[in-house]
């Protein structure tokens, strides 16, 4: 549907367009079977690697425009991770595609069984603004590896990245099966009205609910990568300098705190807090210099909405007087300096929602064991961190804190390890991906059982008798003795 505004023809992506798009993809995914071929998948994955290599400069520029993201974060946390994901997939794809043999039991003897991975069909991936390339392409890699046709809807809050993605995909990938739809709420809604075979959404819980409700109409399975308040518990008697560096790298080093797995707040004891704050201040200055508001190694806040949201957290009267470091803001440049708040009350605004910014509240406890109540009184976060050398405390943390993932003595690195699943639980999400988990996330695991004609037991069929009942019990119980006994007793009632 095109309308004319002045001299320009404007194409609107509405329900008609979405329906047409889905129908086109159905033909490709189902009728032609193109996306299922191994060579097609390999070609697309190789093209993604090429795309990343060729466009590094453009990507860095787009990220700078959208987020003032430092070059290193762009090349490494976005492009580097994408290329890695492709390489892992390319290396392992043959193995992943191969059907898995399954054991069979006495009750189905003789038979053989396997589990066959097949693509769901057509997949919708809705991405986020904070890592606009990584969170778009990483899921696309999984969907392609599993043999699906894909539509990507990048976030409109990172507009330069969104249009670069559209341009690059059209240039490097098979546009008959992999498409980018740019837009905001109307376009996303039009897409969500359609029937998809799988939907993956990265973002916040409010929109996550809307996506899942739309999916429910078509019984579409979903993966949700959401967020939450990721706590970092800091015990005493540790290498504080290393711990703080790792914390800073995971907080301000990740898009200036605007990352779903950034440590959101710290829990430590009253006694240890002063040392902790000093160490933080020292390392922050070492990393970002004296004028941190202007540092080129820190992303800016994505837009004025989020800037206002974060300002409000600082303006909350419950936290006035609690700022012990930073707090500088530049509304015009959308910058906020790394800010530490000490001893914030648990009912303050900053402790009631995911911060997603460069503010770090520190909660002070009488003893470190109180952290568990604090963490468990909130919703399950995407990640939880603990810095400790105390084996018992560590084990208790792993056992009793429910989170998407847990890292001990570091932050965020589990994102880079493809042998562990990356995903949330409860409010922080459902489903997981990375490595083979991506392939599995976008595959239906079909159980295939091959039965033979020999060995048909009459006892399966009516008319039913007491003898058949006894034999059946014995057979299903798997006990040879019982089978013999039943046979011996014969068909006597």
């Amino acid at each position: 549907m095109a309308t004319t505004i002045g001299e320009k023809k404007v194409t609107v992506f509405g329900e008609e367009e979405a329906k047409q798009l889905v129908n086109e993809l159905r033909v490709v995914a189902y009728d032609s079977g193109r996306t299922r071929s191994y060579s097609w998948r390999v070609t697309q994955l190789k093209n993604i690697v090429r795309m990343c290599d060729d466009s590094e400069k453009e990507v860095v520029e787009a990220l700078y425009k959208d987020l003032a993201k430092p070059e290193l974060e762009g090349t490494l946390y976005e492009l580097g991770m994408i290329k890695n994901a492709c390489k892992v997939a390319l290396k392992e794809l043959k193995n992943w595609i191969r059907p898995e043999k399954a054991k069979t039991s006495l009750t189905t003897f003789p038979s053989s069984a396997e589990i066959v991975s097949e693509p769901f069909g057509i997949v919708l991936i809705i991405s986020a603004w904070n890592y606009p390339f990584l969170l778009s392409i990483d899921p696309v890699i999984g969907a392609i590896a599993a043999g699906n046709a894909v539509v990507l809807k990048p976030s409109e809050l990172a507009p330069a990245s969104s249009s670069l993605l559209a341009k690059l995909f059209a240039q490097y990938l098979d546009t008959s099966a992999i498409k980018v739809v740019e837009g905001a709420v109307p376009e996303t809604s039009a897409l969500l009205e359609q029937k998809w075979d799988k939907i993956m959404y990265t973002g916040n819980g409010r929109v996550g609910r809307i996506v899942m409700a739309a999916a429910a109409k078509h019984l579409t399975p979903v993966i949700m990568e959401l967020g939450g308040k990721c706590p970092a518990v800091v015990d005493s008697d540790i290498n504080l300098q290393v711990a703080m560096r790792r914390l800073i790298a995971g907080k301000w080093g990740c898009n200036n705190g605007q990352a779903c797995i950034s440590p959101d707040y710290i829990l430590t004891t009253k006694d240890y807090a002063p040392k902790l704050v000093d160490a933080l201040k020292t390392e922050l200055e070492r990393f970002y210099g004296k004028n941190q508001l202007e540092s080129k190694d820190l992303s800016r806040i994505v837009n004025s909405n989020h800037f206002a949201r974060l300002s409000k957290l600082l303006d909350d009267e419950k936290v006035s007087g609690k700022i012990v470091y930073g707090g500088e803001k530049d509304e015009e440049k959308l910058r906020i300096a790394p800010t530490i708040l000490l001893d914030v009350p648990r009912d303050s605004l900053i402790m009631s929602e995911e911060i997603f910014g460069p503010l770090l509240p520190i909660l002070m406890l009488n003893n470190i064991d109180e952290s568990f109540d604090v963490i468990n009184s909130g919703t399950k976060p995407l990640a939880a961190y603990i810095f400790t050398n105390n084996k018992k405390l560590k084990e208790k943390f792993v056992m009793s804190v429910s989170a998407g993932g847990i890292v001990v003595n570091d932050t965020t690195i589990h994102l880079a390890v493809h042998t562990v699943p990356f995903g949330g639980v409860g409010e922080s999400g459902m489903g997981s991906y990375h490595g083979k988990f991506s392939f599995d996330a976008f595959s239906h695991k079909k159980a295939v059982l091959y039965r033979s004609f020999i060995g048909d037991a009459a006892l399966r069929y009516p008319p039913y008798t007491g003898f058949k009942l006894r034999m059946m019990k014995a057979l299903m119980g798997g006990s040879f003795l019982a089978i013999l006994r039943a046979l011996f007793r014969g068909s006597k009632p």
């Binding site: 189902y30 580097g80 399954a102 054991k103 069979t104 039991s105 009750t107 189905t108 038979s111 069984a113 769901f120 069909g121 819980g205 996550g208 899942m212 999916a215 429910a216 109409k217 019984l219 399975p221 959401l226 711990a243 800073i248 790298a249 990393f287 970002y288 190694d297 560590k394 792993v398 009793s400 429910s402 998407g404 847990i406 890292v407 001990v408 570091d410 390890v417 042998t419 562990v420 699943p421 990356f422 639980v425 409860g426 999400g429 459902m430 489903g431 695991k445 079909k446 159980a447 295939v448 059982l449 091959y450 039965r451 004609f453 048909d456 069929y461 009516p462 039913y464 059946m472 299903m476």
Partner: protein, 485 residues
């Protein structure tokens, strides 16, 4: 059941879960053993209840309900310790020293909604999974199988931990109230229509869901590749057994319709008629080996499928209806109109349409023109056809040359795809379906990698690029000053 009471039960389940009681292997094993005792001690009562609610014969009840529960609980007990062990994930050298593992933990408070056609096993089998994974559970059996439902309500508290496993009886109003609450996981078995409602309700709380739904499960009968006297009899028996055997066609994995080549159709019909007669006698209404239709509403629904004159004209066997007893004969229809309700909706009753094709290969396109079914049952010896069916159709599962038995295979995931369902269970898949797989990574404080941290410079950029590529040789060169950056 009063809604306030339901809320109290839910609150207690939350409290019990928080206490950590359900996390121990000992607790889980005790519950599973108690469940085995329950079905063992009350076998006769269960036979009676199933016979009352559905007209199920004890052999069918044992095979599809009690036996399944015993098998699943025993399997779980044998493997639970292993399932609970964390799995290790290998960590790239660059993170050394580090360890990574995947820890399975229970979701928390689980809601299981059962179905009426297998009112015992479709509640207790998922329950076994939920308990094995360490959750607390609320079970809502189907009200359409009333004696079974009240059996569960009255007996479960005497065997299982009443603070952690609860039963709530009720109809639509109760289900709606339950679905409005926040659960950590919902497991639903039933129809597509209600499945949508469950999923929409779960979306409000971002609750993960497993839906075991249904669909039209086709059987492809390739009598060109199967021709021996013995083999064709097996095919007929297994089809009859897979259609009317499980709850008289009222089963999600029951055979819904057949696809056969035109030239073999009459042969197949005659063979099926022979075995229907052998299994159920001349007057199936009198047979004690076939279930009845569960209630008036479903009886009228199935009866209505035959009202279309084009449909009733295609009846080639059976067709006898006893309104008073709500009984419909095992009925075979040959080529009813494809746009009839009989051919567009899941039948869930004792009617078996046969659709003829020119070539058996056309069955693939036929099946693909409809929603993805829960299972496809191809009867064929043609290896090429087998491969094509597996790769060109999509369904929850495929079972070659038999019907129903995949349900008993604990090493195969049991679940649908598309409109036939979401998620899976049985065996370890039951344990996994009720578990959150938590990634746990641990690092030491030493050694430390300076290049991880700002301020950034070209050396650090190169270092991390090499690290990302796991190019340890390159890293070595860089560190020794032998690489440009």
């Amino acid at each position: 059941m009063k809604m306030e009471r339901v809320d109290k039960e839910l609150a207690e389940l939350r409290h019990t879960f928080r206490s950590g009681k359900t996390r121990s292997l000992a607790w889980r094993e005790t519950q599973l053993k108690a469940l085995l005792d329950l079905v063992h001690d009350h076998q006769e009562t269960l036979f009676d209840a199933l016979h009352h609610d559905l007209g199920k014969h004890p052999v069918e009840s044992f095979r599809d309900e009690i036996g399944v529960v015993k098998k699943s609980a025993t399997h779980s007990l044998a493997h639970l310790k292993n399932w609970m062990k964390p799995r290790t994930g290998s960590i790239p050298l660059i993170f050394f020293p580090a360890s990574g593992k995947i820890v399975s933990e229970p979701f928390g408070v689980v809601l299981i909604i059962g179905s009426w056609n297998f009112p015992i096993s479709l509640v207790l089998d998922p329950l076994i999974g939920a308990i094995s994974a360490g959750n607390t559970v609320l079970v809502k059996p189907s009200e359409l199988a009333p004696l079974c439902s009240s059996f569960l309500l009255n007996t479960i508290p005497n065997y299982l931990d009443p603070t952690a496993i609860k039963v709530v009886e009720g109809g639509v109003e109760t289900s709606q109230h339950l679905l409005n609450q926040k659960w950590d996981k919902i497991f639903f078995t039933g129809s597509k229509a209600v499945g949508r409602i469950v999923l929409a309700a779960a979306a409000q709380h971002l609750t993960p869901v497993t839906l075991e739904l249904g669909g039209k499960c086709p059987a492809i009968v390739d009598l060109t590749s199967i021709s021996s006297h013995y083999d064709t009899r097996i095919v007929a028996k297994r089809i009859v057994g897979g259609k009317w055997g499980p709850c008289s066609g009222q089963a999600c994995i029951g055979v819904d319709y057949l696809l056969v080549e035109e030239k073999h159709a009459q042969f197949l019909i005659d063979l099926l008629k022979k075995y229907i007669r052998r299994f159920y006698g001349e007057h199936p209404k009198e047979s004690n080996s076939i279930c009845r239709i569960v209630n008036r509403r479903n009886f009228e629904r199935v009866q209505r499928l035959l009202k279309d004159p084009a449909v009733s004209a295609s009846i080639v066997a059976g067709g006898f209806i006893d309104e008073e007893r709500q009984f419909i004969d095992p009925t075979i229809l040959l080529n009813p109109p494809l746009d009839s309700e009989l051919m567009t909706e899941e039948i869930f009753g004792p009617l078996l349409p046969i659709i003829t094709l020119n070539d058996i290969g056309e069955s693939i396109e036929f099946i693909n023109s409809g929603p993805k079914p829960l299972t496809i049952y191809p009867f064929t010896k043609d290896e090429k056809l087998k491969k094509m069916i597996v790769s060109e159709t999509s369904s929850g599962g495929v079972t070659f040359n038999d019907t129903m038995v995949q349900f008993l295979c604990d090493s195969l995931p049991f679940g649908g795809v598309g409109e036939s369902g979401l998620g899976r269970y049985h065996g370890k898949y039951s344990f996994d379906t009720f578990s959150h797989e938590k990634a746990v990574m641990e690092r030491g404080f030493y050694p430390e990698l300076e290049p991880r941290y700002p301020p950034w410079n070209s050396f650090k950029l190169k270092f991390i690029q090499l690290a990302y590529n796991f190019d340890y040789f390159g890293l070595g060169l860089l560190l020794m000053g032998l690489k440009k950056h």
